[in-house]
C-alpha cells in the first residue's frame, strides 16, 4: 500500500484550469503592451471615415441586402415547398425535382449567380437586370437547399396524421395542404431561420453580377469604401451591420428550438 500524494481528479482539473487561465492572462498582457493602439484605432475605428459612410450604409447598402435577402427567401421557400412535395410524390416530376435539388446543391452558389448573370445572356441572349438575375439565382439556390429541409419536415409528421385525414375522405392534396404542411412548417421553423441567416450572408455573392451605385449591398459597399478611403473602418462597420441582423436571429433559433421541441 503506497501513500504517495495522489491528487483527486477534481483537484488536478482545478490546477489545469488555473494554468490555462495564467497562460491566457499573460498572452493578453503581451498584446496590450506591444500593440500600437493609436494605429489600430486609426485604421479600424476611424470616426471620420465612419461619418462619411453614414447614412448610406443603412439607407442604401443594408436596405439592399435586406431586400435581396427577403425577396429571395420568400420566393425560395415557395419553390422549396413545391420541390419537396413533387419529390415526395415521385413520378417524372419527382425525378425532375430531385435532379434540380441535387444540381443546385452540388454546385457553388457563386456559379449559379454567375450563370444567371453571364451564361444566360451568352447562351440565349436573355439579359436580365443584374438585380433580378441575382435574386433569381439566390431563389434557385435557396429553393434547392430548403427543399430538403421541407422534405424532412413533411416526413417528420407522423403517418397517423395522413391516415386520419384520408379516412375522413380527404384527398391527398387536401391532406397535404390542410394537415401535413402546417405541421411540417412548425417543425422546419428553426432550420429555415438558419437558412435565412445563410442567405443573408450569401447576398454578398451578388457583387459578381455587377451593381449600379444605388443597388450595392453591404459587402460591395464596404469594399468600395475601403478602396476609396484606404481605411479598414468600412469593413468593420459592414461586419457590425451583418451582426446586428444575424445575432438576434441566431438567438431566436435557439429559443425556437427549445420551445418547439416538446410536442406542443
Amino acid at each position: 500500500m503506497s501513500v504517495l500524494p495522489y491528487l483527486k481528479p477534481t483537484s488536478r482539473q482545478r490546477l489545469g484550469r488555473l494554468a490555462s487561465y495564467a497562460v491566457g492572462v499573460i498572452f493578453i498582457l503581451l498584446i496590450l503592451v506591444f500593440t500600437d493602439w493609436a494605429h489600430i484605432q486609426k485604421v479600424f475605428f476611424n470616426p471620420e471615415v465612419a461619418v462619411e459612410m453614414w447614412p448610406a450604409i443603412v439607407t442604401v447598402a443594408m436596405k439592399n441586402t435586406l431586400i435581396y435577402t427577403v425577396s429571395s427567401y420568400i420566393l425560395g421557400s415557395l419553390l422549396a415547398i413545391v420541390l419537396a412535395v413533387l419529390k415526395l410524390a415521385g413520378g417524372p416530376l419527382g425525378w425532375f425535382a430531385s435532379a434540380f435539388i441535387e444540381l443546385f446543391r452540388g454546385i457553388p452558389a457563386l456559379l449559379t449567380i454567375f450563370s444567371m448573370a453571364y451564361v444566360l445572356p451568352i447562351a440565349f441572349g436573355l439579359r436580365l437586370p443584374s438585380v433580378i438575375a441575382g435574386i433569381t439565382a439566390l431563389t434557385i439556390v435557396t429553393g434547392a437547399y430548403a427543399a430538403e429541409i421541407v422534405r424532412a419536415g413533411i416526413q417528420a409528421v407522423p403517418s397517423g396524421q395522413t391516415e386520419a385525414a384520408r379516412s375522413l375522405g380527404m384527398g391527398s392534396g387536401q391532406t397535404m395542404f390542410w394537415v401535413v404542411l402546417p405541421q411540417a412548417m412548425r417543425i422546419v421553423i428553426p432550420p429555415m431561420t438558419n437558412e435565412f441567416v445563410m442567405l443573408l450572408k450569401d447576398t454578398s455573392l451578388l457583387y459578381i453580377g455587377g451593381f449600379a451605385i444605388m443597388e450595392k449591398e453591404l459587402v460591395t459597399f464596404g469594399q468600395d469604401a475601403l478602396s476609396m478611403t484606404g481605411n479598414a473602418t468600412p469593413i468593420v462597420m459592414v461586419a457590425i451591420a451583418y451582426l446586428i441582423v444575424t445575432l438576434p436571429l441566431t438567438w431566436l433559433v435557439g429559443k425556437l428550438e427549445k420551445k418547439l421541441d416538446p410536442k406542443r
Partner: protein, 269 residues
C-alpha cells in the same frame, strides 16, 4: 359517380369481406378472411396481438392495400381501382388507437375541417354539426382546446366526434382504448356504447372483453391471420367453442393466474 355506388342504399350488408389475404413481404398476416357485418350490427374483433385484427380493420377502408380478395364497403368494391376511395371513406368513420387528432387545430377545428373540405358544408352548418357531436361525447366545454391540452380520453372522444361529424354509415374502431390510462377507458367506452345503442353499424377491434360481451352483437375471434370462431358475443366469451379461444380469454380475463402447463411455453407479456 352514382354508378360506383350501385348498392349504397340497398339492403346489402355494409361490410362484406371475401377471401381477404394480406402479406407484408413474406409475412402473411391475413390468410383468407370472410366477414359480413349487417346494417346496425356491432361486431367486436378480439384476438392476441399479431393475430391480424388491426390489419383486417385497416384493410376495410384500404389504409392497407389487400394482397388478394374482395372488400365491399357500402356496396363499393374497394379493391377495384376505379372506385373513388375518398368518396367511400367519407361515409366510413375511423377511430385510431393513437387518436391521430390534428394538433394544429382545436377540438372543434378537428371536427370542422373535413366537413368543409370534403362535404363542402357551409362554415355555419359545419360548426353546428361539430358542436352537436362534441356535446354528444360530453366535451361541450372543451371545444376550443388544442389536443395537447386534453387528456387521452378526451382526445379519443374528440376523434369519435370528428368521425361522427361526417355522418358515417359505418364506424371502425382500432383498439380505441388501448393507449388510455385505465381510469379514462370508461368514458370512451360509454360513448361507444351509446353509439351502438343508437343503431350505428360498428366494427371494433378491442381488448375490452366486457365491452365485447355486453355491448356487441357478435364477437369474432382471430388468431394467426384467420377467424377461428365467431358467434353471439355473450356465448362466445362465456362459453367459447375452441381451445385457442378459451386459452386466450383465460389469459386476458385473468392475467395473473397462469396455468402450470403453460409455464415455459410462452413469455409473459
Amino acid at each position: 359517380m352514382n354508378n360506383l355506388f350501385p348498392n349504397l342504399e340497398s339492403a346489402q350488408a355494409p361490410v362484406v369481406v371475401r377471401g381477404l389475404h394480406k402479406s407484408f413481404g413474406d409475412n402473411e398476416v391475413l390468410k383468407g378472411i370472410d366477414l359480413t357485418v349487417e346494417q346496425g350490427e356491432v361486431v367486436c374483433v378480439i384476438g392476441p396481438s399479431g393475430s391480424g385484427k388491426s390489419t383486417l380493420l385497416r384493410c376495410l377502408n384500404l389504409l392497407e392495400q389487400p394482397t388478394k380478395g374482395s372488400i365491399q364497403l357500402l356496396g363499393a368494391e374497394m379493391t377495384d381501382p376505379d372506385v373513388e376511395l375518398n368518396q367511400v371513406r367519407t361515409h366510413v368513420g375511423m377511430v385510431f388507437q393513437s387518436f391521430n387528432l390534428f394538433p394544429n387545430m382545436t377540438a372543434i377545428g378537428n371536427c370542422v375541417i373535413a366537413q368543409r373540405q370534403v362535404l363542402k358544408r357551409s362554415k355555419a352548418e359545419a360548426v353546428e354539426i361539430a358542436k352537436k357531436n362534441l356535446e354528444l361525447v360530453g366535451l361541450s366545454d372543451r371545444m376550443d382546446y388544442y389536443p395537447a391540452k386534453l387528456s387521452g380520453g378526451q382526445q379519443q372522444r374528440v376523434a369519435i366526434a370528428r368521425a361522427l361529424s361526417m355522418d358515417p354509415r359505418v364506424m371502425l374502431f382500432d383498439e380505441p382504448t388501448a393507449a388510455l390510462d385505465p381510469e379514462l377507458v370508461g368514458d370512451v367506452l360509454a360513448v361507444m356504447r351509446d353509439l351502438a345503442q343508437a343503431g350505428m353499424t360498428m366494427v371494433v377491434v378491442t381488448h375490452e372483453m366486457l365491452f365485447a360481451r355486453d355491448v356487441s352483437d357478435r364477437t369474432v375471434f382471430m388468431d394467426g391471420g384467420v377467424i377461428v370462431e365467431q358467434g353471439p358475443s355473450r356465448d362466445l366469451i362465456t362459453n367459447p367453442g375452441h381451445e385457442r379461444t378459451l386459452i386466450f380469454l383465460k389469459r386476458v380475463l385473468n392475467p395473473t393466474n397462469v396455468d402450470d402447463s403453460e409455464l415455459g411455453e410462452t413469455e409473459p407479456d
